[in-house]
Symmetry: C2
DNA sequence: CAACGGTAAATTGTTTACAATCCTCAATGA
DNA sequence: TCATTGAGGATTGTAAACAATTTACCGTTG
C-alpha cells in the first residue's frame, strides 16, 4: 500500500464569488429578494462578510444565468420572470436537450444506463411526504445525466446557463401542484427505454413530447397575462 | 416637431472591460496569441493601460465565449481549438439557429424582409477583391437578423456566446478557400425565400441544409486528427 | 405649480495594495 | 544520478481606497 494509491478529491476551496452566487440565487429562488429589487454591491458584501470584488463577479455570473439584469452605472436588478420567460426557457431548453439526447442515443453505455436506473429507482419511491424541491432535484439529476453523456462541452455550458431557471420554474410548479410529484417516474422511464434503442430521431421525438408535457403543466400554474 | 421625436443613440462610453475583451479576442482570432498561452493579468493590464480589475472581468467574459479557459489560482489560458471544437460549435449553432428560424418564420415582417434584402444586395456585389473578413461579416450580418427577428432574449444571448467562435472559424475558411466567397449570395437568398413562406418546419429544414453545407466546407479545410 | 438647475449623497467603475496560492529551481541526501 | 524539499519569486484572489456617474432632494424661476 503506497500513498499514491489513495484517491482524494482535491481540496480546492471554492472562490468566494461562488459562495456569493449560491447565496443570492437561493434568496432569489425562494422569493426573499423581490423581483425588480436593486442589489447593491456594498450591502451584499457587508451582509456576506466579503469585499465588493467577489460580489461583482457573482453578479456577472447571475446575469449570465438570467437572474439579474446589469445596467451600467446603475447596478444589478432582480429580473421579473413572466410567462414570456417561461416560454423562452422552455423553447431554448427543448432546442438544447434535443441535441443532447440525439448525441446520448449514439453514446449509450451500460454505465450510463445504470446511473439512469439509479435515479429512476429514487423517483419510484417518491410519495406525498417528499418536498417539492427534492422532487425537482431528482428530475434535474436525470436530465443532467443526458447532458453529461452527450459529451459536448459547449452544450453542457449552455445547459448550465439556464439550469437554475429551469429549477426555479419546476420548484414553483411542484409547489403549486403536488399531484405532479408522481408523474416523474413513468415519463423518465419511458425516456430511458427510448434511449436504449440508440436512434437519435426517435430520441428527439421522445424528448420533445416529454418536455412538452412538463411545459404545459407549468404554464397551467401561471396566470395568463 | 417635438424634442421627443428625436432619436439619439445614448452616449454611454463602454466599460473598460469591454475594450479589453475586444482587444484580446482580436489577438486570439488573428493568431497573435498562441494556443495554450498563459494570459497574465498584470501583463495585459499594463499593455492596455488599465488595471487588473477590468482585465479579470474581460477574461471571465472570454471564458464564457469559449476562447480562454480559467483555472483557479492558475489564471487564463488560450484554448486550443481542434476539429472537435468545430463539431461542437456547428452542432450547437444548428440547434440554436433551428429555433431561431422557426420563430422568425412566424414573425416575418416587410421591414425584416427589407433588411435581409439589403444584406443580400451587398453579398451579390462580392468579388475576388473582397477581404475574407468582410465576407464573413456579411454572412454573420444576415444570420444576426434571424436571431434578432426571433425575438427571444435567451436565444440571442446563447448566440452571442458562440458567435465569436463562428466568426473565427469562418474567417479561417474564407482565408483558406477564397472560392467560397461567391457561394454566399445564392444560399442566403434561398433561405430568405423559404422564410417568406412562414412555415417553421420548412424553415428548420432549410437552415439545416444551409448550415450543413457550410459545416462540410469548413471541415474540409481542417486536417483530420 | 410645474419645470429647471444645482448640490450632496449614494452607488458603481476603477485603481491600488495586500494575502494566499502556485511555480521554479537550486540545495540536499539517498 | 535522481527524487525530494524548501525558499523565493511570480501570479492570482481578495480587500480597501479613490474616481466617475447617477440619483434624490430642494430652492428657484417663469
Amino acid at each position: 500500500m503506497t500513498v499514491s494509491s489513495f484517491e482524494m478529491a482535491p481540496v480546492v476551496q471554492p472562490a468566494l464569488s461562488h459562495n456569493v452566487v449560491d447565496a443570492l440565487r437561493g434568496m432569489i429562488s425562494t422569493g426573499q429578494l423581490e423581483q425588480g429589487e436593486h442589489l447593491k454591491e456594498a450591502e451584499i458584501a457587508q451582509a456576506l462578510g466579503v469585499s465588493r470584488g467577489p460580489v461583482r463577479e457573482a453578479l456577472i455570473q447571475l446575469a449570465n444565468e438570467g437572474f439579474v439584469e446589469l445596467r451600467r452605472h446603475r447596478g444589478a436588478f432582480v429580473v421579473e420572470l413572466t410567462r414570456t420567460d417561461i416560454i423562452e426557457v422552455y423553447t431554448l431548453r427543448l432546442a438544447l436537450e434535443r441535441l443532447a439526447v440525439e448525441r446520448t442515443a449514439e453514446r449509450m453505455t451500460p454505465e450510463l444506463l445504470a446511473e439512469m436506473d439509479a435515479v429512476l429507482e429514487k423517483m419510484k419511491r417518491v410519495d406525498d411526504g417528499y418536498e417539492a424541491q427534492a422532487v425537482t432535484r431528482l428530475d434535474l439529476e436525470f436530465h443532467d445525466l443526458l447532458y453529461k453523456a452527450a459529451d459536448h462541452r459547449r452544450l453542457q455550458s449552455s445547459w448550465e446557463h439556464i439550469r437554475s431557471q429551469v429549477e426555479f420554474f419546476l420548484n414553483a410548479r411542484n409547489d403549486s401542484f403536488r399531484d405532479f410529484l408522481q408523474v416523474g417516474y413513468a415519463e423518465h422511464a419511458e425516456l430511458r427505454d427510448v434511449l436504449t434503442q440508440r436512434n437519435p430521431e426517435l430520441a428527439a421525438k421522445a424528448i420533445q413530447s416529454h418536455l412538452g408535457g412538463a411545459y404545459h403543466r407549468l404554464l397551467a400554474t401561471h396566470p395568463q397575462q
